[in-house]
Symmetry: C2
Subunit: 871 residues, 2 copies
């Protein structure tokens, strides 16, 4: 087995062996581009190192020094040579980029003799001694693990002693002194002298990089990004080149296209007489890459030529590092560049038009999550720089928003003003107010809490579960962790894409959707098999959904319709009624409104299916909680407030999520089913008369046993068929059920005999499969992440092992008795790319998600088909 | 296919064809016993009747009349004959007895001519006309479906007109008049004359019995008793005999042994000159069967002889009906008799001793549920007669109790007084008080609510979910549905075996366990494969469990240990602590108590395994709710009551059942695991030193992912092993997990790699599989039963389809990676016979149930083995 590869031996497809950086360096060497020569110690060598109890065995050691010898031959320099010493960098490079996670050592090969002789011979002693001092410091830190601070403190002390502010003001003599002090410190800490033998330096440096694969940062990064521990990292040993050698030198980073806009122009910056870290450090302001044209025209032209070669070769926008040493250009790195959503789309579309890539390749290039930024307000970057972070919660619904703090929707004074609603947790009563506010911030609740789900549905910015803040409801203030007290009316700003809460008002910029977006999405639509529907509860959401390309409504939650002022009264009256007759009386009042809801929906969804779920939440959610509201309702009902309170308290439940809700309501109060069916079917008839193509699908929630469905189905059919037979228009409606309690998955064969469609309600299915309430989980899930017990929030990313196994069983049982049953998903997971991949794998017919996620789902659905082909 | 069988053709094993009654009548004929001759129209004929759109086809009709002809030959009587008419009874008789569910017609064959002639020829015209009037009335009711009341009203009117009070005072002339009036009424209602042709009468009567198979009562009874609709009923047509012919006639019912005590003496009663319904009606007081010896010595001796034959033949205690017509004894029915628990055991043991049956047959004879009555107080029968029922709730924990109403355990004045605790729902705070009260009554909560589970564990009488009562907590009164108001201190009585609540004090009688019981149970133990453990949380329960034969503790809920006054303070302090250090401080105070808990348990369970579950419930359950308690705690913690309230409110959850509990507590607060492990292991060491054989099994609750178990296991192991290595005694402990969230069943193969045992927590597993909170379900489950959507409470009888499927998957996955894993069940289902059968079928190692159910589980476990062999 071979463990060490010269750059001349590798290529870009050897990432598994050479790591990303090493493979691309080798590829550039193969392309004949100017790359400082070197070699890669492979990932396998790293694994072997761990296998051999953290040691490099003699055969690998031999391979390394064989490559050093070849490098000496190639460069004409020699390790430890006083006249022409070989100096190298030692850099980690794993199979996928793990920026900043692992360690780097520069200037390796220096020692007292080399430095002395080299300094005398070169015209730049200052530069040589500065390089040496940096090397000692890096070696002490990376290889020996000594605290960085001890060397930094010494360095600062010298500057202080000499009254010097800038590093560059240190004279050669000063630097010689620094090196001496550093070496003493090293000896003090290590108990031995700083190693002068470059070979020992090299082996120790390589081992240190191997070790860094398992530092806490790297382990955590891998867990978060699902990178297997078993990959290991490669180590790149490369001849040093110096952008800080003189004023004919420099260093920079550049992208072949603009990573923010996608424009097809070279984009980047550089510094004259500087090393890579200076560009990053931000002490000197780099210059735009354009100006290099005038400063070093040859280098610039050469760089442009290389960019063109690389982009055509990799068929993707490249992110490159380069160094110019005394007028000669060297390429230090190239890789596919990260980009904004906007740029990702533009580059993908442009490259297809340029004939560089296929449409399918273009689709695979765009991370679904990037689409979010195209559809929501974002903070203005300049304005953001002044923002003071006061808390961080869950990034529950993307976008950026500012507004005045209010603690209750009743605090809204002017609907056109900017408000942020801050609540312990929202409830259905707040929905109308939520749509007026710019953003929503909750103290409790997870990614699928009420606030999060509703906000995503509205496309409103929302930060949830921000437990470090607390609300003083008596004084109407918001108290930050550091004690800051914010009052009602104070401005805060929310970033729903990161979960960060800022003090004050940060300007936002509106999204702009380009024609490229339409083009790109049409390619996705041509490829995907999964249909994409939206969860929409009113015609406004439905319109947004259609605009984003939804092919129907996968979930219309009828309960949201009842909070409208015009009907909440009658609905509450219905709830507290004692008899069926009283309930029917109230429902009669609601029927015309409900019918109109569906007419509006059907009109918008002309020709597309609309799944309407029967009333689902526990009834007490609709009842007022404030004394004043209770009195008002009691008065208008003609009962005492005390009696009403008793009724309300009787409706309270210990575990409402598993209480009297879903189809259980329909079984206790079949008259609600009758009213809703009447509304749906008569709306369908009216729309049909107006030439609208109506496809109503009535969905029974929370079914766990086929008897439940049978009972409710018979009520729906009786009601619907009687209306239809009394009209002169025929309406084709279908009846199906949500699969959201684990029992339904086990009984799916029985249930599928009665159901024309299944819709996996993965929010509830996840809750019940885990036995974990999404509203309470935020309290302990952080401990789960910290202790690495959970890697993902199962309410965001579908748990394919547990919940997914139940889904698989359900699908197979259902299809065994009803092969043509339509199966979809309407949980929040419908808008999560990895969950969409899984749904495609399961062979579902559609996914349904909030309107603002429809585009994400469409792209994910297309990518899952392509991935399948590639597998 | 043959549809009609003479009694001469059948036998007792043909119940599927002839129904129970028909098969036994045929059997008695075969034994040569005096049975009025007749024939049975089979269950298949009933099914055919429904198949043929509710008609009897000509070939079945022919079979019927062929049998009539044979019956005429046998009896020398003739259908419609004026001199010697054949009169028959037509009775339903399904495969299993469905008492009172279906219809009967007597005296069939009478018409005007027959009656006239028969009346003239016989010396008893009154008797003949009375029979005719009964026949018309029955026919009108059963065959034609006319309201009974119309005939009853006419009858009462005649008596009134004539100034007569008792039926028997009506003269022959009166009865002739009644018959005329009845016939007119019949014609008025039917539009045609009463059918005079006995053949038509017969066919219509048979069809009516077939129809009665599908009346609402019968359908409901079948659903409740899981009798398939597809069985159909047979019809028995039998020559009439008359116990009311004269004073040399009579009728009675008797048991071959005493069904209350099991004593081997004839037991029964009879009436002279009476029909069967007179015995039941209770107008005349029947005489003890003994007295028949003097009244009709020949009949008595003959009856004794028949009893002996039947019991030896059926090898079981028989329940018989007989009629004496003019000095001749006829047997009308025999069947295995129902009996009390005490009798069931005694008869079973006696019959084995008599060599009549095997031990296994004896075991199969005893219904597990009957054992309950042997272990709990029951109401004194005489005292019960005066009890006024005020409400009916769920029969949550068997037994009978009386006491003064209290609404709070703090209302207990004298621990030796008799109290009934009445609460909306109990909470862990109430446990100590509950053990002092005679019984517990709750308004809310189902069969596995806190009150129910705890009461069963204690063996205390409990009625739950009694929603028709309401508590006025302000005035401390209990308000009944009829408006009756009971105050604190008023007496009520509870029957925990029926759910009935009585006003006042009803005396109870203590159970007495006989030597027969021990003998019987030892036979069960010899047969069963399942081990039976008990759920016990303290040494008192553990002792009871051992007394009832428990072979270890399957579930020790450690949380119950913390409510003791001596530690609740420190435990609350721990909960509201802000830092780990503070928590550890409080836990240190609790450790010695907790250690002592386990020492006591290990001592009682010497040699048997003890499964200890780590702390499980949400912490807020332990916190005080009353303002006064909060102030006290706040004071002693040195914080303000407001601050404490805030902390308590922060701990509140939306759905605590799916909240921060179980292993999630252990992950957030590993210091609790450390304390509990220390207590368990150091107790084990101390007991071992004293020669006790200790088998601790530490159980991690609510695991859904193997990472949870891995994390907690490592804490337990580290803690335990360090204590063990510092002692000079080795302790073998094992670590396992509860399988109680659906996800755990799907991940069972991964989890089983880390777990040494699985214990199915079927209470929670049922809740989460159904998505149904046991504390809230009582609100809607009644609607489910009424609408026949659920036939059983899945919290009582394990749902073998849904929950059972998950269990099967879990077991198969677990054994695939860990074939020797110990698997048991510790939910409430462990004490339910049908669930125990299922556990045996699944091949579990043990079931664990409340101590008072251990005997039930032992018997059920034995019976499931025998059933398996019989299958």
């Amino acid at each position: 087995m071979k463990y060490v590869y010269s750059f001349k031996e590798g290529n870009k497809d050897m990432k598994n062996i050479l790591g990303g950086k090493g493979a691309n360096l080798a590829e550039m060497v193969g392309l004949g581009l100017p790359v400082p020569m070197g070699f890669t110690v492979s990932c396998d060598a790293c694994l072997k190192y761990y296998e051999d109890n953290c040691s490099i065995n003699s055969s690998i050691e031999k391979e390394i020094f064989d490559e050093i010898r070849k490098l000496e031959e190639y460069t004409g320099k020699k390790f430890g040579d006083l006249n022409n010493p070989l100096l190298v960098s030692v850099r980690s490079g794993a199979r996928v980029s793990m920026p900043g996670m692992m360690d780097t050592i520069l200037n390796l090969g220096l020692n007292d003799e080399v430095v002395k002789s080299f300094s005398e011979k070169s015209s730049n002693g200052r530069f040589v001694y500065d390089s040496y001092r940096r090397f000692i410091q890096m070696f002490a830190d990376v290889v020996m693990g000594f605290p960085k601070s001890s060397f930094e403190r010494l360095f600062d002390k010298i500057k202080e002693d000499k009254g010097i502010l800038k590093d560059s003001d240190l004279s050669l003599t000063d630097l010689v002194e620094v090196v001496d002090i550093y070496k003493s410190e090293y000896k003090k800490l290590a108990g031995v002298d700083f190693p002068s033998d470059p070979k020992i330096q090299l082996l120790e440096a390589i081992k240190a990089v191997f070790r860094s694969w398992n530092n806490d940062r790297a382990i955590f990064y891998r867990k978060m990004n699902e990178i297997p521990d078993s990959w290991g990292t490669a180590v790149n040993v490369q001849e040093m080149v110096y952008g800080n050698l003189n004023n004919n030198s420099g260093t920079g980073v550049a992208f072949t296209r603009n990573p923010a806009t996608g424009d097809n122009v070279l984009f980047g910056e550089y510094l004259i007489n500087a090393q890579g870290e200076d560009v990053v450090a931000g002490i000197r302001t780099p210059l735009s890459i354009d100006t290099l044209k005038d400063v070093m025209p040859n280098c610039y032209n050469e760089f442009c030529r290389i960019c063109d070669i690389l982009e055509k070769h990799y068929k993707d926008m490249q992110d490159m590092e380069f160094t110019i040493e005394d007028g000669k250009l060297y390429m230090l790195q190239t890789r596919n560049g990260k980009r904004t959503g906007k740029a990702a789309i533009k580059i993908a579309v442009d490259m297809v038009n340029e004939g560089l890539i296929t449409k399918e390749q273009a689709l695979m290039r765009v991370d679904e999550k990037l689409l979010d930024s195209l559809l929501h307000d974002m903070f203005d970057k300049d304005s953001l720089k002044n923002g003071k972070v006061i808390a961080k919660g869950l990034a529950a619904s993307p976008g950026a928003a500012y507004g005045k703090i209010i603690f209750d929707v009743n605090d809204i004074v002017n609907k056109d003003d900017d408000y942020i609603l801050v609540k312990l947790e929202t409830s259905p009563e707040d929905i109308e107010g939520m749509s007026i506010c710019n953003g929503i911030l909750t103290i409790r609740g997870g990614m699928t809490s009420h606030a999060a789900v509703v906000a995503r549905g509205m496309g409103a910015c929302c930060v949830c579960g921000c437990g470090s803040l607390s609300i003083d409801s008596v004084n109407k203030t918001l108290i930050c962790e550091d004690g800051t007290v914010l009052c009602m009316g104070d401005y805060i700003s929310l970033d729903g894409s990161t979960g960060i809460v800022y003090l004050g008002k940060i300007d936002t910029v509106a999204p702009s959707i380009s024609g490229d977006f339409e083009t790109f999405m049409s390619w996705a639509d041509n490829v995907r098999k999964l249909s994409v529907r939206a969860n929409a509860d009113n015609f406004r959401d439905a319109k947004v959904a259609r605009d984003f390309g939804a092919e129907g409504i996968g979930l219309c939650r009828t309960e949201h319709m009842f909070f409208d002022e015009s009907r909440i009264f009658n609905f509450r009256k219905m709830i507290v009624s004692d008899t069926k007759e009283q309930r029917e009386e109230s429902l009669k009042e609601i029927l015309p409104y409900q019918k109109n809801d569906f007419i509006e929906l059907f009109n918008v969804m002309n020709g597309y299916p609309v799944i309407i779920r029967l009333l689902d939440p526990p009834l007490h959610e609709f009842l007022p909680s404030k004394d004043s509201d209770i009195s008002t309702l009691a008065d208008s009902l003609g009962i005492s407030a005390l009696d009403l309170k008793k009724k309300i308290s009787n409706l309270k439940e210990f575990n409402p999520m598993m209480g009297h809700r879903g189809c259980r309501l329909s079984i206790t109060y079949p008259e609600i089913v009758v009213m809703q069916t009447k509304a749906i079917i008569s709306a369908a008839i009216e729309c049909s008369k107006n030439g609208i193509v109506v496809k109503p699908e009535i969905m029974v929630p929370l079914v766990g046993d086929v008897s439940e469905l049978e009972y409710i189905k018979s009520i729906i059919k009786e009601t619907a068929d009687s209306i239809i037979s009394n009209s002169d228009i025929s309406v084709n409606y279908v009846i199906g059920t949500m699969i959201e309690v684990p029992r339904a998955t086990m009984m799916a064969d029985e249930i599928a005999k009665e159901a024309e469609f299944f819709s996996f309600g993965t929010n509830d299915l996840t809750q019940m499969t885990y036995g974990m309430s999404r509203d309470d989980a935020s309290k302990f899930l952080n401990d789960y992440y910290e202790k690495k017990i959970f890697l993902n929030d199962p309410f965001i990313k579908l748990d394919t092992n547990g919940v997914g196994s139940l889904m698989k069983i359900a699908i197979s049982k259902a299809k065994s008795v009803n092969p043509n049953i339509e199966i979809g998903i309407c949980g929040e997971h419908g808008g999560d790319p990895s969950s969409v991949y899984f749904c495609n794998e399961l062979g579902l017919d559609y996914v349904s998600c909030s309107p603002y996620r429809v585009a994400i789902a469409r792209l994910a659905a297309a990518k899952s088909v392509i991935r399948e082909r590639l597998d």
